[in-house]
């Protein structure tokens, strides 16, 4: 089983800076059980995805140990991790969505014409949900850690494709 220090690397840097030391002190030096490993991995996924956890780790919550330098650091951290998308980002996201929808539809129609009926159905059914998912990094998920984006996008697309394949078998 991997040790706690190795598993700690799964967590975001801000999380490690905030909770890393005390986390390791809590876990201790002993070997981890499978249940503990799964709990820590689950906690890491949560730390990447949860807005609450990001809020707790990006603000300087520790008991004060400095004045202006700590205030400046917390302002810089908050600024860097703040979600921001502009009207332009929304328009780009909409453009990606429309383009991806058309692409899925055209590919689906072409596949059906070539005899790939089931594949064509799947591609056409993915047109809206797939294009919405692909557009998210440009607006809704802008500013999120890339690993979180990869997990959400990859997982969602995989689920959509799996659902489409299952539907075609019924």
């Amino acid at each position: 089983m991997p040790g706690a220090e190795r598993l700690l690397r799964l967590y975001p840097r801000a999380w490690r800076e905030r909770y890393g030391e005390e986390f390791l002190a809590t876990v201790g030096q002993g070997a981890l059980s499978l249940q503990q490993v799964m709990d820590i991995v689950s906690g890491a996924i949560d730390a990447w995805l949860s807005a609450d956890v990001r809020r707790a780790t990006t603000a300087v919550r520790a008991a004060p140990s400095g004045g202006e330098p700590m205030k400046l650091k917390s302002m810089m951290i908050c600024e860097r991790t703040k979600l921001r998308y502009t009207k332009r980002d929304s328009l780009i996201g909409a453009g990606v969505m429309i383009g991806a929808t058309l692409l899925f539809l055209l590919l689906g129609i072409a596949a059906q014409r070539d005899g790939w009926v089931a594949t064509g159905e799947i591609l056409k059914s993915l047109a809206f949900p797939g294009s919405l998912t692909l557009s998210m990094p440009f607006w809704l998920m802008k500013g999120q850690p890339w690993k979180a984006q990869a997990v959400i996008l990859g997982g969602t697309l995989a689920l959509l494709v799996a659902a489409g394949c299952l539907a075609s078998l019924i």
């Binding site: 030391e21 986390f23 709990d39 689950s42 906690g43 707790a56 520790a62």
Partner: protein, 110 residues
């Protein structure tokens, strides 16, 4: 309506609401660091909180300012319950007491 809002606040933590409740109860006794919390929670509830779950709940409680960190002692950082956290805990325990009272009464009737 204020009563219902405080219940919703704790329930709003989703799968972390129960661990969060245990942490609040543990800290009601006095400030503790993570390891002490897990030991206390296990002795009180029989539940062993994993470190991932523990710190997921701690982060959420901290974000809501229901607990606050104290200066670290070597590698361990104690936390304490804030006034807001006390109010949330008190209300939740009152709600649970009412439910327990009704449950026991019904069992006695049956």
């Amino acid at each position: 309506m204020a009563t219902r809002n405080r219940d919703d606040l704790l329930a709003g933590l989703g799968r972390f609401s129960e661990p969060a409740l245990y942490i609040l109860i543990s800290l009601a006794e006095g400030p503790k660091h993570g390891y002490a919390m897990t030991q206390d929670i296990e002795s009180v509830s029989g539940q062993a909180l994993g470190p991932g779950t523990l710190y997921g709940a701690i982060a959420r409680l901290e974000a809501r300012k229901w607990i606050e960190p104290l200066p670290a002692e070597e590698r361990r950082r104690p936390y304490r319950l804030t006034t807001a956290g006390q109010r949330v805990l008190r209300h939740r325990l009152e709600s649970m007491r009412a439910v327990v009272r009704v449950g026991r009464a019904r069992l006695a009737e049956g």
